[in-house]
Amino acid sequence: MDRRTLLFGKQEESANSSLPLLRTTTGLSPYTGIFGSSELVHLLDRTLFGINRTDLNFFKNQSLEQVVNTLLVQAPAPLPPVNVYNDTNINDPNVPLGLTWVNAPYTDGTINARRYTSFKAWWTGLLLNQNRSITEKMSLFWHNHFATETVDVGDARFVYKHHALLRANALGNVKSLVKQITLDPAMLRYLNGYLNTKTAPDENYARELQELFTLGKGPNSKYTEDDVKAAARVLTGYRTDATNISSTFDPNRHDTGNKQFSAFYNNQVIIGKTGAQGANELDELLDMIFAQEEVSLYICRRLYCFFVYYDIDAAAESQVIVPMARILRQNNYDIKPALVALLKSEHFFDVLNRGCMIKSPIDLVVGTCRQFGIVFPNAQSDTQNAYLMWDYIRAQGSSMQQNLGDPPNVAGWPAYYQEPLFYRIWINSDTLPKRNQFLDLMIGQGYTRNGKKIVIDPVAFASQFSTPENPNILINESLELMYNQSVSQQLKDFLKGILLSGQLNDYYWTNAWNEHKNNPSNTSAKNIVLSRLQSMYKYMMNLAEYQLS
């Protein structure tokens, strides 16, 4: 493929090497090598948002099989977002403070805007408080896949319902999810499905259904413009119900004529149906689309890009995507078996596929909070402040170009599709300094609001390691957690130089650490270790390695 050659050429140049970029030919066969801490870190890094020492300890000594089994358990459905927005200026007449608004009347635009904020903060809170499950990453995967934007949807209750759908089906059946998304009121609004009638067909959803949600634009995806038109006719008649936050089918708006599809779909005709039967045409349409192998290949490529790497070369296509897609089809589009195969594969654990993913903004900000165990206001007893802080984290991700709930358009974030840069789009001269400023703030002064502060406590962080009084072990274990790759001895020595303030004997750190631990209330003793740990972790977070997962 042309773009691959292009990509290779570019990487070769930027890698500052005359050698071609090394890629692997390993495939989907089960990984049988050592499953040590480095492999565990890689697996957790890619399936959770940020990993911490507790997670590592929890999974330590478990087999790959056991870890993947745990990760693939769907997280329980969370309680919905609540009203944290009533204040002296705004009062939601139907929802008291602390209760959920997701089923309440719409009220007005001002309140709706506050509900968006509540929704986004709530979601960020779920990310921050995720359990050891891939559910959050998969929910974000689907959000990126079936991208919608809050303002276009226009109603926070629809947005919530849409999100709940993605979340509930995060590890479910793709075909079933596509059907539900097609009927989802938020999607009907976002892609104008509710305006699609027999007299005025709107092709918007019919196009994206094929181009973005199922078949993609790969070279073997050969549906035609007429197929888009025909599918649009199948999809006529759906409406949204803002009272019940649901969708309905109106047979009077449905095009009852026959729909002829192209040779790509074996010239299939979907016979037009009248009355309530008209709604059944959707199943025929989805059966026809999902009969195309390309759907399974496309979904697997999307997963690959989200969990492994963006460059799908010929070997990855034939050794990973093709067999993975086969599993997806064999399981009638249940996503789990294919995902499990990928996460347990030789390819996934190939050293060439480690540490090569540039963290998305959400991965960076949420991951940092989780990795360093930043303490947030209590969600139960101090809900408003918890939401405020969650929203701050959300806003940071947003300023780095990933606004949860509001991807730039229906295609999702360009990092997952835009050639040739892909993930690199996240990093530019505007966003990289913002990333560093955020990290500097967290390891330094922290962010304060309403008298609450979120900040990294590097002493507490260091305390989790096995022998924090030993600078070598502390550095090794910190590096293991923070960088998904091995580092040079030169860097380790440098980091130790920071901890030792230029002294040459390790025991000076040991003494300082023990001095603090033995006299926790002594400010001076604490400051000695605090300032050195701050400097060291700040340095580690400022290196490019910290941006990789």
């Binding site: 930027s14 040079s488 290196l543």
Partner: protein, 526 residues
């Protein structure tokens, strides 16, 4: 499989030419300084180079009181330098370690001041704590969150880092070379300096070489991020440009990391950086054992270290002269403490207290400041030398005489008054108020008036729409008051900060607005 071989060599996360940017802020447009705007400004182009000797240098084997030799012999015979090898300074009863021929020559040329017995009351014997005391300029029993240089730079460039670099100050305020992140550059909020990790990464930066990233996907992404990082390193290009202007330098000793660092400093100074303060360091002075060769005490570990210091400084001075910038540069050595008077049985010395330090440069008032320490006939294991000069007297004197810091500002930096020492030749000493241009550099987001104040002051802030926080901290970093913590529309706001019995002294008003922060220094006077 080939990739196996690869695992071993794969992905060495090299130390990137990491210019650790300190981001922050802060402020003080002391009204007296503002009024000085109208006076004829004299922009100082003076540079201060600090040489930190990590580990605690044995002062008594560095600057040797010849008139105390017999008592010294009683106290430390196993490490004492033979009397006839000591380099006597002029006619004084004081001599230098025989390895320090370079410094001896500087003394002879009138470019070295030896200050005797520098320390502070109630000395601390922990490396870390003592280092923090020296770098923050705190009292022995006081914990400060900011460094003395950070506080100075804060006064000089109150708006940093908002809208920095800029035309007035296009360069880093302070540069540190070496592996120790210095708390000395810490301002009341964040670090005012930047660090160049080490000499080799400096040359990588200047020559555009990066430590190699492997030709793996991870290496490829790493390289990409590093490239963007370098592009966005606000000071990378000015440093590169300055270094590029100097193509020839004097000769420096080899196998001498201090010399390597000073060579870079000289190049940057001569290349035209406006950077005020440079910091370099040399470790290994923690000589608990075998600090000398027992058969030839003028040689050994400590002699090697002192020779490195002396040779490096001499070469640096010669180079500065060659590059025609020596008049602009003043240097100073320091170490967190001296060592015990009595040596131990391992042929070394344990942690001690006061010790001599060196100030050097064309502008220095040459000579010996202070008198030889007195060594008692009987010296006990725990005996230490009493201090003659507080180390903060030297800081204060250099700030005032070399950086032309006015008295009011000096109190904000040093936090109290210290004895002034005549360290600079009167012809080179500041007599005028410096220009206020630096006060105007960058964008000012928080100010207060009046300042200093007695009962109340008005704080003016300029904010973007969003959450705004204004907190008041004392010099120890304790939060004493939150003046504002709410959502605000973009605009200018006024707040009042009252002295509710906080006591006189320096206080910091910190503005947090989204990701931006700036800190203003305020002073309460009675």
């Amino acid at each position: 499989m080939k990739r196996r071989a690869f695992i071993k060599t794969a992905i060495p996360a090299a130390v990137f030419p990491s210019l650790i940017g300190g981001f922050t802020f802060q402020a003080f447009g002391a009204s007296s300084l503002l009024s000085a705007l109208t006076a004829a400004p004299t922009e100082t182009d003076h540079v201060l180079v600090l040489i930190q000797l990590n580990g605690g240098n044995d002062g008594l084997n560095t600057v040797i009181p010849l008139d105390q030799y017999s008592n010294l012999f009683n106290a430390r015979s196993n490490i004492l330098i033979p009397e006839n090898k000591i380099l006597r300074l002029g006619n004084a009863a004081t001599g230098l370690h025989p390895a320090m021929t370079g410094l001896k020559r500087l003394y002879d040329e009138g470019k070295l001041n030896v200050i005797q017995s520098v320390g502070y009351p109630s000395p601390n014997f922990s490396h870390f704590r003592a280092t923090d005391i020296w770098l923050t300029g705190s009292d022995s029993n006081q914990t400060l969150n900011s460094g003395w240089m950070g506080r100075y730079l804060n006064e000089e460039y109150p708006n940093y880092p908002v809208d920095y670099p800029n035309a007035i100050m296009p360069d880093p305020l302070a540069i540190q070379i070496g592996s120790v992140i210095s708390p000395g550059f810490m301002g009341p909020g964040l670090n005012m300096g930047m660090a160049i990790a080490n000499p080799s990464s400096f040359y990588s930066l200047v020559n555009g070489i990066q430590d190699p990233a492997p030709n793996t996907p991870a290496g490829s992404e790493l390289t990409y991020i590093r490239q963007i990082a370098q592009q966005t390193q606000q000071y990378a290009s000015v440093i590169k440009a300055s270094a590029g202007k100097i193509t020839q330098q004097g000769v420096y000793p080899t196998n001498n990391s201090l010399a390597d660092q000073l060579k870079i400093v000289s190049r940057l100074i001569a290349g035209g950086l406006k950077t005020r303060i440079y910091m370099v360091s040399l470790g290994g002075f923690d000589t608990h054992a075998n600090q000398v060769n027992s058969t030839q005490t003028e040689t050994g570990t400590h002699a090697v270290l002192l020779q490195r210091v002396s040779d490096a400084i001499k070469a640096f001075m010669d180079d500065l002269k060659y590059l025609n910038v020596s008049k602009r540069v003043l240097g100073m050595t320091f170490s967190e403490f001296g060592r015990r008077v009595k040596s131990n049985s391992s042929g070394g010395t344990d942690h001690g207290a006061a010790a001599p330090l060196f100030v050097f440069g064309d502008a220095v008032r040459s000579g010996i400041t202070g008198v030889n320490p007195t060594i008692n006939t009987v010296v006990n294991t725990n005996d230490n030398l009493p201090m003659q000069y507080d180390f903060r007297s030297i800081y204060a004197s250099l700030l005032q005489e070399w950086f032309c810091v006015p008295q009011t500002t000096l109190s904000n930096v040093m936090l109290k008054d210290f004895q002034q020492l005549p360290l600079i030749k009167s012809s080179d000493s500041c007599t005028k108020t410096p220009t206020n241009n630096n006060q105007l550099a960058g964008k000012n987001l928080i100010t207060n008036y009046p300042n200093p104040f007695t009962s109340a002051t008005t704080i003016k802030i300029e904010v973007e729409t969003g959450h705004v926080l204004v907190q008041i901290f004392d010099v120890q970093g304790r939060l004493i008051k939150t003046l504002l913590d709410s959502q605000k529309a973009s605009g200018t706001y006024y707040l009042t900060f009252e002295d509710e019995g906080w006591g006189q002294g320096v206080y910091y008003a910190r503005l947090q607005n989204g990701r931006v922060q700036q800190v203003r220094t305020m002073m309460i006077v009675q």
